[in-house]
Symmetry: C2
DNA sequence: ATTTTGAGAAATCAATTGGTTGCGCATATA
DNA sequence: TATATGCGCAACCAATTGATTTCTCAAAAT
């Protein structure tokens, strides 16, 4: 079983959960109210998120508040970095082309 | 069938393919040489990537060169933006706490 | 003390996934 | 022209996924 950030964000419901608990901790029931699906389904998503180490739990009586481990989102950012560099390079190459066009015109 | 960027990057082999064809266009066979799996398996991944509109094809005789549609990566970046804001806010709140601690000491 | 409520766990199910094998077609090469 | 090569496609298979239902347990509310 693959359990990483990329797996965590692959499912749209899970992405919505992530967005919700990024701002404030929420219980499974409170979360389920935001969706068209059962509490159990949400619970399963939360389990996946837990396995991906994307959430922290806070126990309050019989309620469990889930909050996003927001640091984990940086892993995606880090992976994206390589493409940012490539995009920059492409722009620079484009700049060069435009520059050459300009100077040739003169 | 879900077909979006998040689905595309969920699989590690697909992520590796994406990284490879971000720099330069490659044929399925050339790609397959980088992995422990068959040409057909890679071909299926490329089909998924095509369905996600993550690649452009360039036909050269009987060879097909695949290259990353790098603009698509921005969609991930856009989604990540919301968390950047939250992280910033958290830092600012932390700054405030630190500031209050400082001023109280004085 | 009894009932209600919040939540994880297990069993089950259909759909999807990632992979394989075999095929056919078009383009190169002999 | 005959053969080899690159590639997509379909059929098939085991594993995983996302969801539902049922169950149990602990904590609140009555």
């Amino acid at each position: 079983m693959r359990r990483d950030v990329f797996q965590a964000i692959a499912d749209p419901t899970r992405r919505a959960i992530i967005t919700l608990i990024a701002v404030q901790a929420m219980t499974p029931n409170a979360l389920a109210e935001h969706f068209d699906t059962s509490r159990q389904a949400i619970s399963k998503h939360l389990r996946v998120l837990t396995e991906c180490e994307m959430v922290k739990q806070e126990f309050q009586g019989r309620e469990i508040y889930y909050q996003l481990e927001i640091e984990k989102m940086k892993e995606i950012d880090v992976w994206l970095d390589q493409f940012r560099k490539i995009m920059e390079d492409q722009f620079q190459r484009l700049d060069k082309v435009l520059y050459n066009l300009k100077t040739k015109k003169k």
